[in-house]
């Protein structure tokens, strides 16, 4: 298990992604699985960096853990920002004509499609969002 805790600022986006990639790229051989985890991880990280702390500064802790039987990787995001359950977001209408599509709203939909298990809890003023991918 490894974790990285930094200020929840877009300036730290690259640092979070570098950390995530460095924790999983030697374990996961299949390129597509690796890419799916990186995409889902990016969507989850960006959500916190952009929206968790509208009025104040705060931190994001990213915890990456490996699992056996079945093999998998778990990514947990913990922040103390506004309560936000990503699993309650409405799904975008992916069949809407392109002219009618709002530019946005796809990130959480992609997380749901790409990961195998998602858990959200709000405890002690913290959002805990955990994403698991088996491989």
């Amino acid at each position: 298990m490894a974790s990285l805790k930094l200020s929840a600022s877009m300036d730290n986006f690259d640092a979070f992604m570098y950390f995530l990639k460095s924790q999983i790229e030697n374990e996961i051989i299949e390129k597509k699985t690796l890419n799916d985890i990186l995409i889902a991880g990016e969507e989850a990280i960006v959500n916190v960096l952009r929206y968790a702390y509208p009025d104040k500064n705060g931190e994001l802790e990213l915890i990456v853990d490996h699992q056996e039987n079945p093999k998998g990787v778990s990514i947990e995001l913990i922040d103390s920002g506004i309560a936000f359950n990503p699993l309650e977001r409405l799904e975008p209408d992916i069949n809407a004509p392109v002219e009618d599509r709002p530019i946005g709203g796809l990130g959480i939909f992609m997380i749901k499609k790409m990961m195998d298990e998602l858990n959200y809890s709000r405890e002690n003023g913290q959002n805990k969002f955990r994403l698991i991918k088996h491989y």
Partner: protein
């Protein structure tokens, strides 16, 4: 994160070659480049993605932008996508408005 893009304009077609990743860290820069195409009589935007590893939702928004904003009847092509990118495009329904090809044929 590493990423490169290159845009060439020939006879109303903008050819955009992408490599590395199209993600939150660079999608804005690509969108800024594509904005310079507005009003230039561009009828086709062709994204060559043979060397692109993946696209996140930030990258998808740039492709939607190309379809919505560059011209009224702009056709958007996606050429040489890997399985990660094809899956993302299909799961988000973007295959409904993109011409998807292995090698470019206009």
């Amino acid at each position: 994160m590493e990423s490169l893009f290159n845009i060439k304009i020939e006879n109303g077609t903008a050819k955009v070659t992408l490599s590395g990743r199209l993600d939150t860290s660079n999608a804005g820069a690509l969108a800024d480049e594509l904005k310079t195409l507005i009003g230039q009589e561009i009828h086709k935007v062709v994204f060559f993605v043979n060397d692109l590893e993946y696209i996140s939702s930030a990258g998808l928004r740039v492709i939607i932008f190309a379809k919505q904003k560059i011209g009224t009847d702009t056709q958007v092509y996606l050429v040489g996508a890997n399985s990660t990118i094809l899956d993302v495009v299909k799961m988000t329904g973007m295959d409904n408005f993109l011409f998807i090809q292995d090698t470019y044929q206009d």
